[in-house]
């Protein structure tokens, strides 16, 4: 069975989804989904070990060898992301049952879990596959389920947000499709490995240049990179809390993965970083994103909105790390990928707990919560500190490497700007802290109880992970380093 793990990774949640329909009882479905997600997590651990021990795993679907058939290809980078996504999904799912009770009508609970599993399967599929058209198909699976999940939000604005996301997302996907078509036209293959061998032959053509440009724009739409981020804040804010926690931690990560995978493994670094002034553009946009989104976050009255904007800013950090174009820079991006997933899922899940109790994510509703929901608020504080990048949290680790990477390149002003950007994080995190701890609760809300244990456990698992990986960084750093080195080493 071990040899089949790559496909099992994707197919287990994929097939479990329709199976849920047969189970029907929401409780059963929840348990089942949990088991499925958990086993995906276990599989990803095993895969990571295999990859670290024996190098890249290639798996031919249907027994057809690539490039004729579709290949699944797990290298260090993809194993790393598989692990992140399945882990987050499992933990978030723990809290799902209780959270959706108040946010989604009971008759749609089963459907919710199905969509959740499909979304998970889609993302895993994108990461595991080694075929660019397959990427598109799975991208659509994950996107379509994400649109539906967002539309399940209670607020009617969720529908509108979902629609906007759908339009933007589809434009992005179609752009990627165009890019795939152009690449196929020039090389006659769809396999990534094969492409990377054949693309250099046609590297000087304008067609490939167009393909590259389309791919970058398409993926940046999915990535919500500034200035193509407009769909994200609303989509995150009005989606059910669980969905937000899950998507915020995973969806944009997958897009970053695609960006890295295509630019490094498919187009090759030498092409990617010379065809367009990509470094400069990304650096500028990344920095702008950090500042604009962080500033926007400061002025938000809704905490979900606030963290959504903060997500855009954090994507900016990843883009900056990517644009540095060195091993350390990429490593910083990968670390931040991991770390940001931990932070944001913890934060949004804790927000979910707050919404569960007080039914609102407005900042004004947070007054006095520090005393009434001490554990939840403490989780938000730790998550916030991690966002700022305080030592002993994960946020610090990635910030450290990001700065180190910029200084290695002699980009002092960038380093200063990055640090200044994190000052903005202090401001928006502290707005929450002050409201929660130093304001008397509004009289209208009355007595609020601490969130139920079903919430606290997953939230604190994530918070503990935030601290643990901030203290014991061996795993994340080792893998991130290995992945980024192999990306630089393998690519021509």
């Amino acid at each position: 069975m071990l040899a089949h793990l790559p496909i099992l990774q994707v197919i287990v949640p994929l097939l479990a989804a329709p199976f849920c329909l047969i189970l029907r009882r929401a409780l059963l479905v929840w348990l089942f989904a949990l088991i499925v997600s958990g086993s995906a997590f276990l599989i990803s651990i095993t895969l990571l070990q295999q990859v670290l021990a024996s190098g890249t795993i290639s798996y031919d679907l249907g027994g057809w060898s690539p490039p004729w058939g579709i290949e699944y290809r797990i290298d260090k980078l993809s194993a790393y992301l598989l692990l992140i996504i399945s882990a987050i999904s499992t933990v978030v799912l723990l809290a799902a049952r209780i959270s959706i009770q108040k946010e989604i009508p009971a008759d749609r609970h089963t459907l919710f879990y199905i969509l959740y599993l499909l979304s998970l399967a889609g993302m895993l599929g994108i990461i595991a596959t080694g075929d660019i058209f397959n990427v598109f198909v799975f991208l659509e699976i994950s996107s379509l389920s994400a649109y539906s999940l967002i539309a399940l939000g209670k607020d009617r604005r969720a529908l509108w947000a979902s629609y906007q996301y759908l339009i933007m997302g589809t434009i992005g996907a179609t752009f990627i499709l165009i890019s795939i078509g152009l690449m196929y036209q020039m090389t006659g293959t769809l396999n990534m490995e094969d492409l990377s061998r054949r693309l250099p032959e046609v590297a000087q053509t304008r067609t490939l240049f167009a393909a590259f440009a389309f791919f970058i724009v398409g993926v940046c739409l999915k990535l919500a990179m500034f200035p193509l981020h407009l769909w994200l804040p609303n989509a995150y804010s009005y989606a059910p809390s669980i969905v937000t926690a899950f998507l915020a931690a995973t969806a944009t990560k997958v897009a970053i993965y695609l960006l890295i995978r295509f630019t490094f493994s498919v187009f090759g670094i030498s092409f990617s970083f010379t065809a367009l002034p990509l470094q400069t553009i990304f650096l500028l946009l990344g920095l702008l994103g950090i500042f604009v989104a962080s500033t926007a976050a400061i002025y938000q009255e809704n905490v979900k909105h606030l963290f959504a904007y903060s997500s855009i800013a954090q994507i900016g950090y990843m883009i900056v790390g990517y644009s540095i174009g060195t091993t350390t820079g990429l490593m910083a991006t990968l670390l931040h990928l991991f770390n940001h997933a931990l932070m944001k899922s913890a934060l949004f899940l804790a927000l979910g707990a707050v919404i569960y109790r007080i039914g609102s994510a407005q900042l004004s509703a947070f007054q006095g919560l520090g005393r009434q929901m001490p554990f939840t608020m403490a989780a938000i504080v730790v998550g916030g500190l991690s966002l700022i990048g305080v030592p002993l949290t994960v946020g610090f680790v990635s910030k450290w490497y990001l700065i180190l990477a910029t200084i290695e390149n002699g980009w002092w002003p960038v380093a200063v700007l990055i640090l200044l950007g994190s000052l903005l994080a202090i401001v928006y995190v502290w707005r929450i802290v002050e409201t929660a701890y130093f304001k008397e609760p509004a009289a209208s809300i009355g007595q609020v109880k601490e969130a139920p244990l079903a919430f606290l456990v997953p939230v604190w698992v994530l918070v503990a992970a935030n601290i643990y990986f901030g203290i014991d960084t061996r795993l994340s750093i080792q893998v991130a380093q290995a992945a980024s080195q192999s990306l630089f080493g393998v690519a021509p």
Binding site: H4, N134, G188
Partner: protein, 280 residues
């Protein structure tokens, strides 16, 4: 054009034209699909939606300059990209030289099905097809999740009344359709089982099948349609459809091969049913 009905009809015609273009380009399978999906299902879905959301568009108050600029930039980039493309129809183009020849030359021995498209679809790139089925499934679940709660009784009544009023206007259409539907269904079955040899196959068949159902629903009211095909049944069928496809893979997995490694063509007979779910 402010009348959405006309717009929809035009886009249907556009799809049909596209389909015929596909035939000209030797892509008969695709043409089949485009005709049934683009011209058939899409139009039907659009019409259903328009009956619910209103037929006329308000005057746009947008300033299209920015959009125009974006579009022009994109188009410019694409045209720029075309400059280095191989010429249209050039048999020496890279796309025809690398992977495709194997499909053309060896698929008969390896798969045993004359229709290369089918063999590629169902075997070489079967996983894509599984993905596609799941996409449909996802969309189906999504639509279900969105619309099932919305269907409060009074809504139902309202929509039905809208539908009913429309139906009465199209009495002739109704009768014609009634006669047509059995033929459509028969045709679907034909396409299904001849997929191996002629163009078409399970999916297109399903599409046609669904088109028939949607047509039925359109003209006889949703409630009637629902009576004919019960909702849980379709749900179950959908789930089973996906499971069968995946199940084939799993079975081959258990037998020691790689996932989806089957040498016998096993198309997905119920894939089309997934669209059926869109009705509900």
């Amino acid at each position: 054009m402010k009348d959405l009905f006309a717009v929809v009809m035009l886009s249907g015609i556009y799809s049909l034209l596209t389909a015929s273009f596909f035939v000209a380009m030797d892509a008969v399978d695709v043409a089949f699909t485009e005709a049934s999906v683009g011209a058939g299902i899409f139009t039907l879905l659009m019409l259903t939606t328009i009956t619910m959301t209103g037929r006329y568009e308000r005057a746009a108050r947008h300033k299209p300059t920015l959009a125009l600029a974006v579009v022009l930039a994109t188009g410019g980039l694409l045209i720029y990209g075309t400059l280095d493309m191989p010429y249209f129809g050039d048999p020496q183009a890279a796309a025809h030289l690398h992977v495709a020849p194997r499909y053309i030359h060896d698929s008969m021995q390896e798969i045993g099905v004359p229709n290369i498209v089918t063999s590629v679809l169902a075997s070489y790139r079967a996983f894509d097809t599984l993905g596609e089925v799941v996409v449909i499934f996802t969309a189906g679940i999504g639509v279900l999740a969105l619309l099932s709660v919305a269907r409060r009784p009074e809504d139902d009544a309202e929509i039905n009344s809208v539908n009913d009023s429309m139906h009465e206007q199209h009495l002739i259409l109704r009768i014609v359709t009634k006669i047509l539907i059995p033929f459509i269904l028969l045709f679907a079955l034909y396409v299904q089982f001849h997929g191996d040899f002629g163009p078409g196959g399970g999916f297109q068949a399903g599409m046609i099948f669904t088109a028939a159902i949607i047509l039925y629903a359109m003209l006889f009211g949703l409630s009637t349609a629902r009576r004919v095909i019960s909702q849980p049944l379709i749900r179950l069928l959908t789930a089973i459809g996906v499971l069968i496809f995946g199940g084939v893979g799993v079975v081959s997995l258990l037998n020691g091969g790689n996932f989806l490694d089957y040498n016998v063509l096993s198309d997905d007979p119920v894939a089309g049913q997934h669209l059926g779910i869109l009705l509900i």
